[in-house]
């Protein structure tokens, strides 16, 4: 049984003043135990919203309007209150975008651990001060931090350290799945590498399912096994990471890949994506990427493409899918 099965997830954003925005549209997602998935896309594409939806952390004015989210067999979309709170232990965890502000300024790290451990304590578990200190030390060492951090306050730690503490705190739940929402965006490049490295190691050691959300395709390609690309609230591509470097892809993915180049090359060529992301306040017919797509055809304007098989995975593009089918038939004909 897959660890996470989400079907038809729709999230709407309804501010009291202003227009409704459909930020996640009809997303289906299946994750197996132990997968390390990257979720990539530009600002506003809905990736963070999806991450929050999957961990039941959506808050007004955002709302899950429809869809099921089965986690380890249980539909968590229907859980609330105390049930939902308990489900987080050994369940699903969320690490926020910037460790900068994710820690309570007036409590030291040891108390942060204590709060979580006590909130989820089962009879028989040692949640005495000594027990908490022991667990805290274990977890801090797991994220490569000095146990002395336990007695520090958040403002005494650097950004990278705070992010690691956040990860350690999430780990204290012994989760089967962790969603990392832009874990490195607020950090400088060198610290980014270190933190991503730690996340990779932890994922390998402990085997939890990880979703790494980022707008930085490079980081995602480097660290994950499987990459999902989001555009305008939909998943438009789903490939193994190693398949991303070559072959045909959804035009949006190709444009994203084109934005990168080797800085050490003789000539550095940078691409860009013309146009602007679509207005998500109106339901659309056809493929959302059409206005910016160099391959757009009539069918693209009329029918919203589902995820067709493409290369080693899937992509939501009529043109590419047709080309792949043609190629396959030609191959069979030979």
């Amino acid at each position: 049984m897959a660890l996470l099965e989400a079907h038809g997830v729709n999230v709407v954003y309804e501010p009291s003043r202003g227009t409704r925005i459909w930020s996640v549209r009809d997303v289906d997602l299946t994750l197996e135990q132990g997968e390390f998935v990257g979720l990539v896309g530009e600002s506003g594409c809905g990736k963070s919203t999806l991450g929050f939806a999957l961990t039941r952390m959506l808050r007004p004015p955002a709302r899950l309007t429809s869809g099921t989210i089965r986690f380890a067999g249980t539909d968590i979309a229907g859980l609330d209150g105390e049930q939902l709170r308990r489900a987080r232990r050994n369940g699903f965890a969320l690490v926020l975008q910037s460790g900068m502000n994710a820690l309570n300024p007036v409590r030291d790290i040891e108390h942060h651990f204590g709060d979580i451990l006590k909130a989820h304590a089962v009879p028989g578990e040692d949640v005495s001060a000594a027990g908490i200190r022991r667990r805290g030390t274990e977890l801090l060492e797991a994220v490569r931090l000095d146990p002395a951090v336990l007695s520090r306050f958040p403002h005494e730690l650097s950004g990278g350290m705070r992010q690691r503490v956040s990860i350690a705190l999430a780990l204290s739940l012994q989760p089967q799945m962790i969603v990392f929402d832009e874990p490195t965006t607020a950090l400088d490049v060198i610290v980014q590498q270190a933190v991503i490295g730690t996340i990779k190691e932890l994922q390998r050691e402990r085997g939890f399912t990880a979703i790494l959300i980022s707008h930085d395709l490079g980081i995602v390609l480097e660290s994950t096994d499987r990459v999902m690309v989001m555009y305008a609230g939909r998943i438009v591509e789903d490939q193994p990471a190693r398949a991303m470097a070559r072959g045909l892809h959804h035009p949006y993915t190709e444009a994203l890949l084109d934005c990168y180049d080797d800085p050490r090359a003789e000539e550095v060529r940078l691409g860009g994506i013309p146009g602007t992301p679509p207005d998500l306040s109106a339901p659309n017919t056809g493929c959302s990427y059409t206005p910016r797509c160099p391959l757009a055809e009539d069918i693209c304007r009329q029918q919203d493409p589902p995820l067709f098989p493409l290369e080693a995975g899937r992509a939501a593009c009529h043109v590419r899918a047709r080309a792949a089918r043609v190629e396959e038939e030609a191959g069979r004909a030979r």
Binding site: L96, N104, S166
Partner: protein
């Protein structure tokens, strides 16, 4: 340590500035307070020694002396606690009159502040946590309505209904007129009994400030990442509300304590006046009614300085509350 040092220096400078301000006031105003004071005492037949006259001039202004010399005399008169002669209490020194009244006010203000702060803060947390629901609206509307009550008006109404009509509480004063102040249990009990209505009046009118401040802070704090993260980690609602949200939302309220205290003191003057409660507020009320300038001037100084000291103490206490300040340089 740097924080505390800064606060001490600031306290001393502000202290000096406030005392200087009080020095300037009577000399700046049109009309001559010093002549008015001397004239009043003369017409009441109160004998003035030369030393008293000098003290009054030091406090209120001596038109024939240089400003600098007056300033020196002023500091001298404060240091020696010679504030002149009060028209309302000519047989006592001003210092004595104030000295007797001050503890009553400190007691009243002290207990009221603590009560109003605690209840107001809790209500604010409650309203902020349940924002936009009925609980929030009722607390907000209630606090708006009661917070707009002029303290003296509420005092009068309570006095009328609870003292005059139903006789549940004494009508005026700080203690039974027949007794003399002492530390016996019966007297203390009596004093407490007499302080219920004034305290209640003050508490009700100053409550709303704390409620709104805390509510707004709560709402802002609830949007912070660390609250979201705490919920993502499955902490209980009460833990999140109190230890993560409220505990942080509290901080701006504490720094705003000084402002709240100003309003409280204003209210104290009015409430003590209405209840004839024997504190410095009541003295100020009397002094104003009697145009008793020496007493008024001294009271103003004492009240301002008391407020500065109270704010300073709270500033020091803040260090215990906010670890970020403890380690700052």
């Amino acid at each position: 340590m740097g924080y505390i040092l800064r606060k001490v220096v600031l306290f001393i400078i502000t202290l000096w500035a406030a005392i200087t301000l009080v020095f300037i006031l009577p000399r700046l105003m049109p009309g001559s307070p010093v002549d008015a004071a001397l004239g009043k005492l003369a017409s009441a037949g109160v004998p003035i020694t030369n030393a008293e006259r000098a003290a009054i001039e030091a406090q209120l202004g001596a038109p024939h002396t240089s400003l600098l010399a007056q300033y020196g005399d002023y500091w001298n008169s404060i240091a020696t606690l010679r504030f002149g002669t009060s028209y309302s209490f000519p047989s006592q020194t001003v210092a004595h009159t104030i000295g007797v009244a001050l503890p009553w006010t400190v007691f009243l203000v002290g207990t009221t502040t603590v009560l109003a702060f605690i209840i107001g803060t809790l209500l604010g947390v409650y309203a902020g946590w349940h924002r936009a629901k009925l609980a929030d609206s009722s607390v907000t509307i209630g606090a708006t309505f009661f917070g707009a009550f002029p303290p003296f008006w509420l005092g009068l109404l309570l006095l009328y209904w609870l003292s005059f009509k139903y006789g549940w509480f004494p009508i005026k004063g700080g203690y039974d007129p027949g007794t003399t102040p002492n530390w016996s249990l019966s007297f203390v009990g009596d004093a407490l009994y007499h302080s219920v209505l004034p305290g209640l009046t003050l508490a009700i009118t100053t409550l709303s400030g704390w409620v709104f401040g805390m509510r707004n802070n709560m709402i802002n704090t609830l949007g912070e990442d660390y609250v979201t993260f705490a919920e993502a980690n499955g902490l209980r609602s009460r833990t999140v509300a109190m230890l993560y949200a409220a505990r942080n939302a509290l901080l701006p309220n504490v720094t705003a304590f000084g402002l709240a205290l100003g309003a409280l003191i204003g209210g104290t003057v009015l409430v003590e006046g209405v209840y004839s409660y024997p504190g410095v507020g009541n003295l100020l009320y009397l002094a104003v009614t009697n145009h008793d300038f020496p007493l008024m001037q001294a009271l103003f100084l004492v009240i301002t300085l008391s407020m500065l000291v109270a704010i300073f103490i709270v500033d020091l206490l803040y260090v215990r509350l906010d670890p970020r300040v403890r380690s700052s340089t």
